[in-house]
């Protein structure tokens, strides 16, 4: 198997960010590559989220 | 704890209904709002502290101070603690069992200590006659004497012609 300890995540939306956080906790270095100038993807545009209606940011 | 507090409040002349113990889990936002609104309305019903029907209006402040001291006395707390230990072991937490046990063991000790503390506070302003003292602490003659006797023996109080005074 390989010795690489880094992983690339393509996309900085909620899925990309959550994967990056978990991988960092699991001991890996993460390159989070995002097309836009900010991370958060579409979720960052939302005001509230269902089902609990708490804020999305 | 709630029952002990209710009985303590009753003893010193505060309407026990002013204190509520409610349960609302993290998911029960709406239920919590109902409980709070009902509580605010019921307290509004009772009016400011001391003005409700079963409350001793003017002496409340002094009584409460004496009550806090009484609740900090180790004698009273030991009775409360050992009782909780018993309940924890037996596991019968029915409201009746709790009410009975507290009114049998804890409240008498609390009342005795509260009255003793109140007497000391009243006498700080100078000696007072026994009857006036008994009335203002809300204790009948027999009970009053039983509380005062040990205090005199221990030299905390002394008898004088005008009544009782701090030693």
């Amino acid at each position: 198997m390989s010795k690489a300890g880094a992983i690339m995540v393509l996309g900085g939306g909620i899925a990309g960010v959550q994967t990056a956080l978990d991988l960092a906790d699991l001991g890996y270095y993460v390159y989070l590559v995002e097309k836009k100038p900010y991370i958060g993807g579409v979720m960052a545009q939302l005001d509230k989220t269902f089902p609990t209606n708490d804020c999305a940011i | 704890m709630a029952e002990a507090a209710r009985q303590a409040l009753e003893d010193i002349g505060v309407d026990p209904g002013r204190m509520e113990l409610q349960w609302a889990s993290a998911a029960e936002g709406p239920r919590f709002v109902e409980l709070i609104t009902k509580c605010v309305d019921s307290i509004k019903e009772k009016g400011p502290l001391g003005t409700a029907s079963n409350e001793a209006g003017d002496e409340i402040q002094r009584r409460l101070e004496a009550a806090v001291k009484a609740a900090s006395a180790s004698k009273v707390r030991t009775s409360f603690g050992t009782l909780s230990k018993k309940f924890h072991k037996e596991g019968d937490y029915s409201p009746e069992a709790i009410r009975e046990a507290i009114s049998a063991k804890v409240t008498p000790a609390f009342r005795k200590e509260r009255i003793a503390q109140e007497i000391k506070m009243l006498l700080e302003k100078g000696p007072m006659s026994v009857t006036k003292l008994a009335k203002s602490v809300g204790s009948k003659k027999a009970e009053f004497e039983k509380i005062v006797a040990p205090l005199i023996k221990k030299g905390v109080l002394k008898e004088e012609k005008k009544g009782l005074a701090l030693a």
Binding site: T52, N53, D54 | M1, A2, A4, A5, A8, L9, V14, R18, M19, E20, L21, Q22, W23, A24, S25, A26, A27, E28, G29, P30, R31, F32, V33, L35, I36, T37, C39, V40, S42, I43, K44, E45, K46, G47, P48, L49, I60, Q61, L64, E65, A67, V68, A71, S72, F80
Partner: protein
């Protein structure tokens, strides 16, 4: 015997995990309720000592709401 102008002051002891969380979830869904309660957060209802309740009344509370 309710006086209209009278605004009671109520002290709340809320358990961090249940009642305090219920209050937060009521806030998140914007339920409205009267503003008379001031909250002291405790880790559990078991932490509340009879002395706290008596002291609360001594310090001018018209009511005490302990929430587990």
């Amino acid at each position: 015997m309710t006086q209209e102008g009278y605004n009671p002051r109520i002290l709340g002891f809320f358990c961090h995990w249940c009642c305090y969380a219920a209050a937060d979830s009521a806030g998140v869904s914007r339920y409205q309720y009267p503003p008379n309660v001031r909250v002291i957060r405790v880790m559990c209802t078991g932490r509340i000592d009879v002395r706290f309740i008596l002291e609360a009344f001594r310090c001018g509370a018209d009511g005490v709401f302990t929430g587990g």
